[in-house]
């Protein structure tokens, strides 16, 4: 038990993950900088409700996650001092796609396990609605992220 609020711990994890994209020279410094802001956000006296402060903390971490894609150093310098660059880099959108398949599998499993519950409530059973919308949303997210990844790659590829 560290004594830090769960939102702060989650935000730290997100920031740590984001910083892995950065070159080794600036990664630790950026992590220290961004993680040091979290106590100020999670204990911000100007925001009255704890839930809102937690949401702000997570939004801050999400913004940092986006930032690491746009930092100029991240684009120009080689990332991951310890790692060799991947020969087949993992495209964006893989994780939402896997999550969509997993969600479908879980929902189908639940529907098979409890067929009476699903059929008794008709088409508006929460499980049916979840089966329709959750995986579809994840697939849409995967497609969008993959398309952006392709566009970024095509921009980075030098012309003839």
């Amino acid at each position: 038990m560290t004594g830090r609020p769960p939102a702060q711990r989650l935000a730290e994890r997100l920031i740590r993950r984001a910083c892995r994209r950065l070159p080794g020279g600036i990664r630790d410094e950026r992590y220290r900088e961004w993680a040091a802001e979290l106590p100020a956000i999670i204990h911000d006296p100007d925001v009255r409700f704890a839930l809102l402060r937690s949401a702000r903390t997570l939004r801050y971490a999400a913004g940092v996650y986006r930032t690491t894609r746009h930092l100029p150093q991240a684009a120009s310098a080689p990332a991951w001092g310890e790692r060799q660059p991947a020969i087949f880099p993992r495209p964006d959108g893989v994780i939402p796609a896997i999550a969509a398949v997993a969600a479908w599998a879980i929902i189908l499993g639940l529907a098979r396990a409890f067929p009476a519950v699903v059929s008794s409530s008709g088409p508006w059973h929460p499980l049916v609605i979840a089966a329709l919308f959750l995986p579809a949303a994840l697939v849409a997210l995967a497609v969008i992220r993959f398309a952006r990844w392709l566009r970024r790659r095509s921009r980075q590829t030098p012309g003839p």
């Binding site: 220290r32 900088e33 100020a40 100007d46 939004r59 801050y60 913004g63 930032t67 930092l71 100029p72």
Partner: protein, 106 residues
């Protein structure tokens, strides 16, 4: 330097007290900008030598040390110039609204 709205807000915060140092969240609140907009902007300003950063001493306030940002001398000069130009352009736009180009359809 292209003066966008978010950049203008950040420069105004810095220029409100040029001797003040600001940490990230402080700037976010003052300029009403999300972290995803602010940090790339600060990185660009730092690359251009307009903003400098400094770590606060370890142990200050009993929390992890923060990184503080401040306009450099050059940054103050450029920021004032850019904001003055933007204000002048806004006044001109109000005084002389854009006229349709000759020959354009009305």
């Amino acid at each position: 330097m292209k003066l966008t709205r978010p950049l203008e807000r950040v420069l105004r915060v810095f220029l409100a007290d040029i001797s003040a140092r600001h940490y990230g969240y402080d700037l976010m609140k003052a300029a009403s900008l999300p972290s995803g907009t602010l940090y790339p902007m600060l990185a660009r300003l730092q690359d251009q030598g307009l903003v400098s950063s400094e770590w606060e001493p370890v142990g200050a306030g009993g929390r992890p040390p923060r990184k503080y940002y401040q306009l450099t001398g050059d940054g103050v000069r450029v920021a004032r110039l850019e904001l003055a130009q933007a204000a002048r352009a806004a006044v001109q736009a109000t005084a002389h609204p854009a006229q349709p180009a000759p020959g354009s359809a009305r």
